[in-house]
């Protein structure tokens, strides 16, 4: 069987357009690092301790016409935890908390996106952390989207979620005010 150039071009254009109509695919800009995976937890009930994960990657697809068809996947290297205090970070990496030698990765994979208004959604998904997979819901807000000055197209969201560390088998006692941790994801995707 022989293909001529025309059929190949037509076929690939068709494939491309159908993909474009279905959803836009984005890769989270970790190369230019316009994305941040942060967490916060109460310290003794008197203040907030903040930290972040420096090494992660992810993709999302976004369907303008049909936001519920969107999905997101983020993978985090747990050893990259950084709370601006070396001894604490070492402790966070130990088996008291993240146990990074045993569980080097944490990930979130969305299962369902429920639109809650213009530019807001609840993203249901499975969070795998410390070897335990549990459903969490991320409250997501679209920050903005549009062309960038360098020929690309970008879209950004803020997402927050909160969970009990004990639900993921992290049972180190930090006191009654510090049982839950809040995750804050600020991600900017570059359209592919």
């Amino acid at each position: 069987m022989k293909f001529n150039l025309k059929t190949i071009t037509a076929a690939s254009l068709l494939a491309l357009s159908s993909q474009l109509w279905a959803a836009e695919n984005y890769v989270i800009d970790t190369k230019g690092m316009h994305a941040f995976v942060e967490f916060k937890i109460q310290h003794l009930g008197y203040s907030w301790l903040k930290g972040r994960f420096n090494d992660f990657s992810g993709t999302f697809s976004y369907d303008d016409k049909n936001p519920e068809k969107s999905n997101v996947k983020v993978t985090i290297k747990t050893a990259s935890v950084d709370s601006n205090h070396g001894e604490r970070d070492k402790h966070l990496r130990s088996d008291d908390f993240l146990d990074v030698s045993k569980y080097p990765e944490a990930k979130f994979v969305s299962t369902k996106v429920v639109s809650t208004g213009k530019g807001t959604a609840k993203i249901h998904g499975n969070l795998t952390l410390h070897g335990v997979t549990k459903e969490v819901v991320i409250d997501a807000v679209e920050v903005g989207a549009g062309k960038d000055p360098w020929g690309g197209y970008r879209r950004g969201f803020t997402g927050t979620t909160k969970f009990a560390m004990a639900d993921f088998g992290i049972t180190k006692n930090l006191g009654p005010a510090s049982t839950h941790v809040e995750m804050i994801l600020n991600i900017e995707g570059i359209r592919q």
């Binding site: 970070d89 070492k90 006191g175």
Partner: protein, 184 residues
């Protein structure tokens, strides 16, 4: 050997008071820091010692560095007592090797401990009185690498110290010689 022939001075029999003070203060401090280090890691977050214990460990550790450096400088300027005449060559060699291991272990622990404490580029406080600065620019995984060396260096030092003590006890109880007594 030419050394013994040409050396007109009589052999030194006992350790001086300064040597004894250096030795026993070092020994007590090293065991104390080892115990403190083990204990402080197991403390509950709400334990009153959770913060003071590591501060104390770092402060005493930094002072021990100064103490050991002074000890080495002092030792360098002195002649150390000669091994007892009846000590076998292998005993003398082994004793010296263990002494070197003790110093090597100490310096591994000193450097790695300092690197853990300064892994974020901030200095170490000595009893809240004085901050010793972070002299080495932080590198990747500093606290993890230094932490590994510090922990295993401490176990290795304890093993070397056990050999050192076993040697002393063997001379005292088995050989019934003055090796241990001249350090007391």
């Amino acid at each position: 050997m030419s050394e013994t022939v040409n050396n007109p001075e009589p052999p030194i029999e006992r350790y001086s008071v300064v040597a004894k003070v250096f030795h026993w203060v070092s020994a007590l401090t090293i065991f104390g820091l080892f115990g403190l280090g083990l204990w402080m890691r197991e403390l509950d977050y709400y334990d009153p010692w959770y913060q003071p214990a590591p501060d104390l460990h770092k402060s005493i550790g930094m002072l021990l560095v100064v103490w050991i450096l002074a000890r080495i400088l002092w030792r360098w300027k002195q002649s150390t007592p000669t091994p007892l005449a009846h000590h076998k060559p292998w005993e003398v060699k082994l004793a010296h090797a263990v002494h070197w291991l003790l110093y090597l272990g100490l310096f591994l622990i000193f450097i790695s401990g300092y690197l853990i404490a300064t892994s974020e580029g901030r200095g170490v406080y000595i009893f809240d009185l004085f901050e010793f600065p972070a002299l080495i620019p932080p590198f990747d995984q500093q606290e993890d690498i230094a932490g590994f060396i510090h922990e295993w260096g401490a176990y290795a030092l304890m093993a070397a110290a056990a050999l050192h003590i076993a040697g002393a006890l063997k001379h005292h109880f088995v050989d019934k010689d003055a090796t241990l007594k001249r350090m007391l």
